[in-house]
Symmetry: C2
Subunit: 358 residues, 2 copies
Amino acid sequence: SKRYSITLLPGDGIGPEVISVAKNVLNLAGSLEGIEFNFQEMPMGGSALDMVGVPLPDETLLAAKKSDAVLLGAIGGYKWDKNEKHLKPETGLLQLREGLEVFANLRPATVLPQLVDASTLKKEVAEGVDVMVVRELTGGIYFGKPRGFGTNEDGEEIGFNTEVYATYEVDRIARVAFETARKRHGKLCSVDKANVLEASMFWRKRVISIAAEYPDVELSHMYVDNAAMQLVRNPKQFDTIVTNNIFGDILSDEASMITGSIGMLPSASLGSSGPGLFEPIHGSAPDIANQDKANPLATVLSAAMLLKYGLGEENAAKRIENAVLDTLNKGFRTGDIYSAGNKLVGCKEMGEEVLKSV
Amino acid sequence: SKRYSITLLPGDGIGPEVISVAKNVLNLAGSLEGIEFNFQEMPMGGSALDMVGVPLPDETLLAAKKSDAVLLGAIGGYKWDKNEKHLKPETGLLQLREGLEVFANLRPATVLPQLVDASTLKKEVAEGVDVMVVRELTGGIYFGKPRGFGTNEDGEEIGFNTEVYATYEVDRIARVAFETARKRHGKLCSVDKANVLEASMFWRKRVISIAAEYPDVELSHMYVDNAAMQLVRNPKQFDTIVTNNIFGDILSDEASMITGSIGMLPSASLGSSGPGLFEPIHGSAPDIANQDKANPLATVLSAAMLLKYGLGEENAAKRIENAVLDTLNKGFRTGDIYSAGNKLVGCKEMGEEVLKSV
Ligand SMILES: CC(C)[C@H](C(=O)O)[C@@H](O)C(=O)O
Ligand SMILES: CC(C)[C@H](C(=O)O)[C@@H](O)C(=O)O
């Protein structure tokens, strides 16, 4: 039987609860497909800060790098919000992305027919939405140098960051995006602010150049302000979106909220080689932590992405995806997606129900 | 009687049509309040490019600076989209903002009861939305240096921009925002990405420091990705938002689309002294230009903002605002806001109807 080693990073808040569910689901789906997992839990985020004083201990990064894939719960919480930058849980996440060189962040935003009412958008606008945002994750203004604090010529204090992209960075994320669009509906929309920013003009030029390798994919371009509007006006117009780190942060969150069920949405962060990082897009929700209220499905679906994109185990991935749909069809709902006529369950029970359908 | 000189910049596409309506409305509202206007039309945008080869001729900027207020229609169009940066209509707009030093961009996004169905959001989510986005307009990544193209240490081509804010820049926009919130419902939300960007940490620090001058205003902070979500989830939670140039570009457009009627939305750009710049938030809509189809109400309402914020003529402003509401109440609608049971009119007829109610 096949064997994979998986690093689990439960993190903070509801992270440990949802990871525990996803681990059980992975184990069962794997065993039914002749796959064995070797799990290693490592500290990260606020809990790592409390234990060893840094948000990403060296041992955690090392273990992650040596494994076949990494599954993260969630990080952060009020407790650490005022920490200095290098002692923020978020900084640990950025270090992990950088350390694993996972430059391509895939964020699907899908409105499931079972949950269309959860959207704040009118039914006819929300139903059938199925967007994949491909976000550049290890470059741009998140990592660009110079950055910091200083004084300008007039002796005024300043804070500054650099938005910068190099050829190889745009080329590689563009290729991932074109490949992704090709496997979906063949439409790619590149989002930038090329009417104002040189970094965006450069981005657009490289995307157009890479497009020559993908004549079967239909490429369009949109300014980021317009994209933010179009996601509200008519999200169905989008198939695959590719954009830089900061615009991707904003637009993927907007797209996910358009589905109305962010407790359902997974993500995958992939590099050229080495392990991928898989995590739900929701946060650590400290206010409901340890109350068995969290929705574990985003993490369970992240585990499915781990199988599909991280390990190439499509059959095991499909088992999990179908089990989630079955469970929804049976009417099981955690509080965040509950509506009248369904069965309200906690995190654990939701996990047990999914297991029954794997 | 009082006299004001107004520079009109009709611009491109539907710009001339909507400016012509707004000019008539200004004239009438003014005359009823003992105000006389001296209008001067100047070229700008694509039409200036075609005429004299630059998007903002020196004479235009000079005339604008010497006048009491500037009313802009819209600029841009497919025709000039591939122009080099210094020959883009958009560059003319950025030069105008910089030249007039209008650092504070006020963008209201209001859902009128008459138009609540135009929103793609569910009625219960959209109704009553009334957000004011205060966007910093002459700083940040739009103007920061260094910027441009080059090569990195590895000899790779790069494109780059600088996000930078100095003390005085944040302080002055924060003061405008606190004053604005004070006149509204006393709640200000400052949006940034202070968990990642130094420029945002600096922004937040300065906003908190200025808050001491406004103990009556309730200040909160939100990350930009969360703000993009919250505008979709529950836009009514916001009163006044203050944010940097690029986040303001994205969020104000998102907020305006949430109203569903961007043909209705005005904007004001103000400096510390000197004339303000007033313009509808919609674009030049080249596809419907010269067909008498444009909605002139965003420009008419921009003229009302000109009277109120630019000249302090509140009574004349109120006349225009009320005339617009009356006209909507009578059921007149241009195509973009048309719904069954109302009267479909063109740009000119809409203008004539507004005049009847001024
Ligand atoms: C927590 C934060 C640093 C992170 C980001 O901005 O990338 C988050 O918002 C995300 O999108 O994963
Ligand atoms: C046309 C463009 C340069 C401009 C901007 O980005 O500021 C526009 O989108 C706006 O918001 O007024």
